[in-house]
Symmetry: C2
Subunit: 274 residues, 2 copies
């Protein structure tokens, strides 16, 4: 591909890239390197103090591209969801104080196997946060995460899904961050980026490393993980499939067990979970 580099004037150091540095150290590093923008993280800002962090960055002449992160909306109880919303309101205030227009939202994993409910909780959370963010002039940038991180970080796993939520709000208030690591696999990527026009509030650059150890071997016996296997099997049956249901488990621990034991467990779990 032969095309132009972006201007260095757009380069921003997200401070997670230099995780050992404090806000002051990262700021000074950017000044030495001639990098004009910095993306801040709340944990680092909190270590240095909010107003001190704002002062350090401002005095150095840096601009703040975004604050990471709000989000983490889904939780089992209404009380916990309210507590997280309160924390998100604080994150919005911090973003405003740091002089950035963008709060990045990492939307959170599901508290149980029910992905649909968790995704509804994200929508509700964004909806509850949006008016406050608009008041103080902070945009909410939903960051879709790679599906491999769904259990740890975010039930929002594609740009399409993030945009479906953002589309419920004014285009200058709720949008997306495009992180290449999280979206590059998506067959619908370029169409969704075009669809995001006017709602792209940030861009994260990095690259993919094949995870180690080999993920091929990380499959579990039915019931030992989060998958709604029965629900999926019933949907498959409802689509007219009535054939065999294979159990296929790539897992060294399973492979090291006596085969007959594996088959017994497999039958039990099949009846319980498939």
């Amino acid at each position: 591909m032969v095309s132009d580099s972006p201007e260095l004037s757009r380069l921003s150091l997200n401070q997670k890239t230099t995780n050992g540095w404090s806000v002051r150290e990262a700021t000074e590093g950017c000044v030495r390197a001639g990098i004009p923008w910095i993306g801040l993280w709340r944990d680092k800002v909190s270590e240095t103090g909010l107003s001190e962090s704002a002062r350090i960055v401002r005095d150095a002449g840096l601009r703040v591209s975004s604050l990471c992160r709000g989000g983490m909306f889904p939780a089992t109880t209404a009380a916990e969801r309210r507590a997280r919303l309160d924390d998100n309101r604080r994150a919005v205030e911090e973003a405003a104080n740091l002089g950035t227009a963008v709060l990045v939202l990492v939307c959170g994993p599901a508290p149980d196997r029910d992905l649909e409910s968790a995704r509804s909780m994200v929508e509700e959370g964004v909806g509850a946060l949006a008016p406050h963010a608009a008041e103080v002039g902070v945009k909410l940038a939903i960051e879709p995460f790679h599906p491999v991180l769904m259990q740890e970080r975010s039930v929002i796993v594609s740009l399409a899904q993030a945009l479906d939520i953002a589309a419920q709000f004014e285009s200058d208030r709720v949008g997306v961050v495009v992180d290449v690591y999280h979206v590059f696999w998506d067959p619908d990527l370029y169409r969704q980026i075009a669809r995001a026009s006017g709602r792209i509030f940030g861009f994260h650059a990095n690259d993919w490393l094949p995870p180690k150890p080999d993920l091929l071997l990380s499959r579990a016996m039915m019931g030992d993980g989060p998958i709604e296997i029965r629900r999926i099997r019933e949907a498959v049956d409802a689509a007219g499939y009535a054939g065999p249901l294979e159990v296929e488990i790539f897992n060294q621990a399973v492979w090291d067990s006596p085969g007959d034991e594996v088959l017994d467990r497999m039958k039990e779990r099949y009846l319980q979970h498939v």
Copy 2:
């Protein structure tokens, strides 16, 4: 979730679940456990011999739910793609000989960063294989893979994408395998399963284990991985974004390097790859 188990008469042992067993051992294990179906793998079948494997399974009264696997279509040279197609034709023959109607296709990774070309090569490969498969009565079952395995196994990462290919063929000739591990994250899952009606040739049950070590830390410096960063950035710009471009790298090795060195490398790679 309160709903019924499937009948044990549909349970199939995909022999990768008992990876230490030969075809004969897996067959005998199934007989002892009263499991009526088996899913075979070509490497195991080859160890035992094709006609001997077919005989063992048939004599035991087992039915073969599928043969794993054909596919691996994308390759850099036309000669290599032809060689892989030849191997796929052999896989089709083997499936027919083993008495199964289903050959599972793991479509293969991209040989370089260009996902679009790789995906075209998959379509061409399936198209070239389909007539021969139809002749001997073997159905081609495309297995979409979890995006985390895109670099190792398959550029086909969603049911939607697999069905877009299958839809170009008669519904009893090219379809999909639904493996819960590979598709459970998909926000569009149940709609796509319904869309797959008549084209579901298999179902794989297992469960998800969170990958270790933490994938949060597996992000690379731009240019060290497969992502078409510049293409994505240009698409983002074309969608009207003109703001800062953050570099965000979660990686212990990067974190352990001196910050100024990281920033220098970052600037260089930014100009080269973003």
